[in-house]
Amino acid sequence: MAVTCDELLVGAQHMLAQAVDEVTWRRATSLAYYAAFHRCIALADQELPGGVSPRIGHRALVKALMAAPEPWLRSIAFMLEQCRGRRVEADYLLNVDFTENAAASVLATSQRVFAKADRRGS
């Protein structure tokens, strides 16, 4: 693997720390979400019976985690879906204002996805 999801998360942190405009807030949001997305693919592959394909789609991943019997995996699915909604907004809805606060909130939520996945919900 040429790059890890942890490195994507660190990249999002750096990007947001240096961001001065809406373009960078949107890009940092997207990167923070993708970091969480890739962390969740690894998590789902590890925790779900039969694992998941590394090429799984965004909504399919959330649905797979939502179907898990463990509440902590369903909780992570909700958090990933929260971040995904804002990522889609950042990437596609250019006519809607996107703020630094939105980017910082997605990044902080993405960090919580990582922490929760690392401690396996405990």
Partner: protein, 248 residues
């Protein structure tokens, strides 16, 4: 010589920057409101209702505001009542009060705005649409929330999710922010992600930094993950998220 009697507006101005932690200052405003009672009982009760709201006491706040609007049917007093209910995050009660106020003051736009917001937050989307239609008939253009309200009405009418399900999620979200002592700063923003025409993202801003908003997001996700009823309806078709602000 008698002490000067404070004005209602001045007391409300004093209250604007206070929180439940400012006990000493809140008591001072209460004392001033007691003086105000002699010359303006409705105003005095409105101030005491607002103080009770800041302290988080719904029953006491409602009691004072009810006396206030009973003593004088003034639009400002009704708006004060609705503001207290917004502070208390009591959307259902706010909708009821806004409806009563509109029965007397149907031409007041601020009341109509309050009614639209309260209808949304209490998942009474049909009411929200009626208020938006009334606003549009008066102004010849759509209310700012009309599009979101219309989409939510269509979503509930088509069976995508139920109003009860949305109400349940919003109530869990309220409990999560209340438990953390974090206040929401606005009625929220509803978005339909372009890649998911059958899903909604409802974002609430909170008076707290992004790290606290993220904690709320996790707490909310933890609560919803154990609610079999809400996992079914609305499930992922309506997701609530908190957004913080660096200024806090």
């Amino acid at each position: 010589m008698a002490a000067p009697v404070p004005k209602t507006n001045e007391l409300f101005k004093d209250l604007a920057s206070l929180s439940a932690k400012d006990d000493f200052l809140l008591r001072r405003v209460e004392n001033e409101a007691a003086k105000l009672m002699r010359v303006d009982a409705s105003g005095g009760h409105a101030v005491l209702g607002a103080v009770a709201a800041i302290r988080g006491n719904l029953d006491r706040s409602v009691r004072h505001h009810e006396l206030s609007v009973k003593l004088e049917d003034d639009v400002a007093l009704w708006l004060n009542y609705c503001t207290s209910l917004a502070i208390l995050d009591a959307a259902g009660k706010r909708l009821e009060v806004a409806r009563r106020a509109l029965a007397w003051h149907e031409d007041v736009d601020e009341l109509l705005d309050v009614a639209v917001g309260a209808a949304l937050e209490s998942a009474s989307f049909g009411d929200g649409q009626r208020f938006c239609d009334l606003w549009a008939s008066r102004h010849g253009r759509h209310h700012a929330a009309a599009q979101a309200v219309g989409k939510l009405v269509r979503a509930t009418d088509s069976g995508l999710f139920s109003s009860d399900g949305v109400r349940g999620v919003l109530e869990v979200a309220r409990e999560v922010s209340r438990a953390a002592g974090v206040q929401r700063t606005e009625q929220g923003r509803i978005l339909e992600p372009p890649d998911s025409p059958d899903a909604f993202l409802w974002t609430f801003q909170v008076a707290a930094p992004p790290a606290i908003a993220a904690q709320l997001n996790e707490n909310l996700a933890d609560e919803l993950a154990t609610r079999v009823d809400l996992l079914e309806d609305p499930g992922l078709r309506l997701v609530v998220m908190y957004e913080g602000a660096a200024a806090y």
